[in-house]
Symmetry: C2
């Protein structure tokens, strides 16, 4: 239970924090967008297979409001919609070049406002404050987030593909070749999926997909670990290990003797999870077709 002093602490923080973000909000409004619109643009930009309904679920916005907002976005040339082959009720939403431009402009404005509030702090103070905020976020999230790991559904495929591409691309600046490769291997995986030998698990945070891991039979007694991915905000909180444990348990239950995985050198956090579970690097190969200086590594684990 919180003491009155602690509640006062929190409210004191709340007051100055709200004040800080009031200026951010004002700057966004100045640029011609509401806060909600900015959030919607952010969500659209994150996914290649975004629908109105997904946005409604993730942001908690009214259906009709969303419909009107997207209509407006389309009219203003920020987004365009494509039909889904499978379900003709659904229209996928994509940012146009102009939409991405506008979104970047809004991000810049926001970042500049935040930076302004921090500009008088020393480097050490900035570091201390950021650490404090991350710590707070993690503790609050760990206490309140509802986390589930479940087998994949058809609708997860697009999530896995699009987030895999986006995260790898954004974080490691991989080339377009890599993008096509991801499409190929994921669709291939799903097509040839065998429940007895393969698995693809999705980690959900508060009902929203936030990570994945897969196991695929690669030969007699040998499995390949694939599609290991965590949303940035879920990292360093133990969820990577939980996904990995479940995947390795699956391997042991199916009688695999060896698991290997392919990754690229730059993935520092994932590397730590691999090491924790006993994987060791067996080889590395240059992959210039995926980007300059990209090196693919092969890691193995004897079960």
């Amino acid at each position: 239970m919180l003491t009155p002093d602690q509640i006062a602490d929190i409210q004191g923080f709340h007051k100055v924090y709200q004040n800080l973000f009031k200026t951010v909000d004002a700057a966004i409004a100045e640029a011609g967008y509401s806060l909600t619109e900015k959030d919607v643009l952010l969500e659209i930009s994150k996914s290649e297979h975004c629908t109105a309904n997904i946005l409604i679920g993730q942001l908690g916005i009214d259906r009709s409001y969303m419909s009107r907002m997207l209509k407006q976005f389309e009219k203003n040339g920020l987004i365009w919609k494509t039909a889904s082959g499978a379900d003709s009720r659904i229209r996928y939403i994509h940012l146009t070049d102009f939409g991405r431009e506008e979104f970047n402009r809004l991000s810049d404005i926001q970042n500049r406002q935040i930076a302004h509030a921090f500009e008088k702090l020393s480097v050490e103070d900035v570091h201390a404050v950021c650490s404090a905020l991350v710590m707070t976020r993690n503790k609050l999230s760990d206490a309140n987030d509802v986390i589930t790991i479940r087998p994949f559904k058809q609708s997860d495929i697009e999530y896995v593909i699009s987030r895999h591409k986006t995260l790898y691309y954004a974080e490691r600046h991989l080339s377009g070749t890599f993008s096509a490769y991801v499409d190929e291997i994921v669709y291939d995986f799903v097509e040839r999926f065998q429940p007895e030998t393969d698995c693809l698990n999705i980690l959900e945070c508060n009902g929203v997909p936030a990570g994945s891991i897969a196991i695929k039979k690669a030969g007699e007694g040998t499995a390949q670990l694939r599609f290991f991915m965590l949303e940035p905000e879920m990292r360093r909180r133990g969820y990577g290990n939980r996904l990995m444990e479940m995947a390795l348990d699956f391997c042991r239950g199916r009688g695999y003797k060896k698991v290997f995985l392919l990754t690229i050198t730059a993935q520092v956090i994932a590397r730590h999870v691999y090491e924790t579970h006993g994987f060791y690097k067996v080889s590395s190969t240059g992959k210039p077709q995926w980007g300059e200086g990209v090196i693919e590594e092969c890691w193995e684990l004897e079960l």
Copy 2:
């Protein structure tokens, strides 16, 4: 300058924090008030001499909006207005009993929502998070708040009286006798104010009064330090010492040889400031008329 990682940290925090307070906001709305209305009620409750204009300044709300809101409050029996003797344009605003009841109800709702978000955290985690938030608040405030210390104006008198009462009363549960005493000594001080021997300085944070200190001649070569007060959110940040320094500089400049002050035992933070500047306790007297167990202390400093 902030690094991209640090901006991501802040935005990550922002997202979960906003989500947390979204539920608080929803609960307040459920109770029939908007966030702005809640803030206005809070400000009214804090001061005994609150005016529409003060609220506008402190909360950054539009004049007309405020006018309508207060009209509604009055109609609903939350507040009542009294005329100012000095300026007939001004109407002082006070909470009615019902208004205070409603305000307490809203505070309870808010506190319960906050407590709910923290309830799954361990005692240590709660402590760590609160400390982190206070630290963040202080660093951001120290970097961005505009602090000024200036001689008092006529309009400060009501601030000094009302905050003195409220803070002492709220924090130490002093009796009504104390309240009458404060009225008396402040009005007496102002009436007999002599610029050559006395001073009353106001500390302003972002243009809003947030503390006070006074010096009054008590005898040949002897000054009494009075009305030393800091808003809770301004404490432990060095402003008490700055006020004290200015007051003691004034004393030295005016040729005083000795300064004394009267305080009550419970004032822990102020005591620390006194000690830092070389005051020492010379006597203590029980003051049962101000409340059970209240002990007044006399501290002195030779200049």
